[in-house]
């Protein structure tokens, strides 16, 4: 997969992983992994980038005697997911067009 495309899709998948409830690093990796390859080293820069873009916020919660960071989606993150859904309709239409052309060749 094209690196730029994959980078954008990982951002979307991470936002989707925290859309319904706040989550933490390891759980986000496990949630996203069935859909797109994401490694430990990939995730944290993505989380930082999304935080800087104010698409998510972070809070530390005490868990079993240690601190665990939970990531919460913000309105800008929800807006990004909604925009992605709209963009994907256009991409699907292009995909259908391209594969139809290929079938007719």
């Amino acid at each position: 997969m094209d690196a730029q495309l994959k980078r954008g899709l990982i951002d979307i998948c991470v936002l989707a992983a925290i859309r319904d409830e706040d989550s933490y690093g390891y759980r986000i990796i496990k949630t996203v992994k069935p859909y797109i390859e994401v490694s430990e080293s990939t995730l944290y820069p993505v989380l930082r980038r999304l935080e800087e873009a104010q698409m998510l916020s972070v809070r530390s919660v005490e868990h079993n005697g240690r601190l665990r960071k939970y990531y919460h989606i913000n309105q800008a993150g929800i807006d990004r997911l909604n925009a992605f859904s709209e963009e994907w309709k256009e991409i699907t239409a292009i995909y259908n067009f391209v594969t139809k052309e290929a079938r007719n060749e």
Partner: protein
């Protein structure tokens, strides 16, 4: 390797980060290991073994960090870092030969690239990461090694129609060197002329 050793190793490999950033990254990976142990029921050694290597993690982190030359006076010294050859072929492909001391890693060299003759900056990154991901249109290969120097050939046809230029920056043995297009041993504050082709 246990968690402490892994985190210490990673900390050493992230030494170019500022203290706050490094602490944040180390906390994140420490938390990941604790969660692997807790949720997967593995011991500390297994949790660490299931992680990517500290080298790979550090590389991935560093390439995400915006790179800029430090705001210091750089010395142009051809005896340390130089662009010994640069030209554009008729087909639009550019060739730059970059000379570096053989004990310098490509990770230590910063390259700035312009996408035209006017000096419009296209990107600034570590030379090591120039060929990865978004920048895969560049190629670097070790062409020659002699006299204590490595000579790398960088090629691209990315700017076939527009012209391009580079500047190279290197902190070496606590001094700051730059390859730019002015006379030898001149001191340049911040930047110099582009090495155009």
């Amino acid at each position: 390797m246990n968690k402490t050793a892994f985190i210490n190793d990673l900390s050493d490999k992230l030494d170019r980060l500022n203290e706050t950033d490094r602490k944040e990254y180390l906390e994140f990976f420490s938390e990941l290991i604790d969660d692997k142990i807790e949720e997967d029921g593995v011991n500390e050694t297994s949790a660490v073994e299931n992680m990517q290597s500290a080298d790979r993690i550090a590389d991935a982190i560093i390439r995400e960090i915006p790179v800029e030359p430090e705001n210091v006076a750089y010395i142009e010294a051809h005896s340390v870092i130089d662009c010994t050859n640069r030209y554009r072929m008729d087909d639009g492909k550019y060739y730059f030969t970059i000379k570096l001391p053989d004990d310098v890693s490509l990770k230590d060299v910063i390259i700035e690239i312009t996408k035209d003759y006017r000096g419009t900056r296209e990107l600034c990154t570590n030379l090591f990461y120039l060929t990865d991901g978004d920048n895969a249109e560049f190629a670097i290969r070790l062409e020659n090694a002699y006299g204590g120097f490595n000579y790398y050939e960088m090629t691209t046809d990315k700017f076939a129609d527009t012209g391009m230029g580079i500047r190279l920056y290197l902190r070496y043995k606590d001094k700051y060197y730059m390859a730019t297009d002015i006379s030898n041993k001149s001191e340049v504050k911040g930047n110099g002329y582009w090495l155009g082709a």
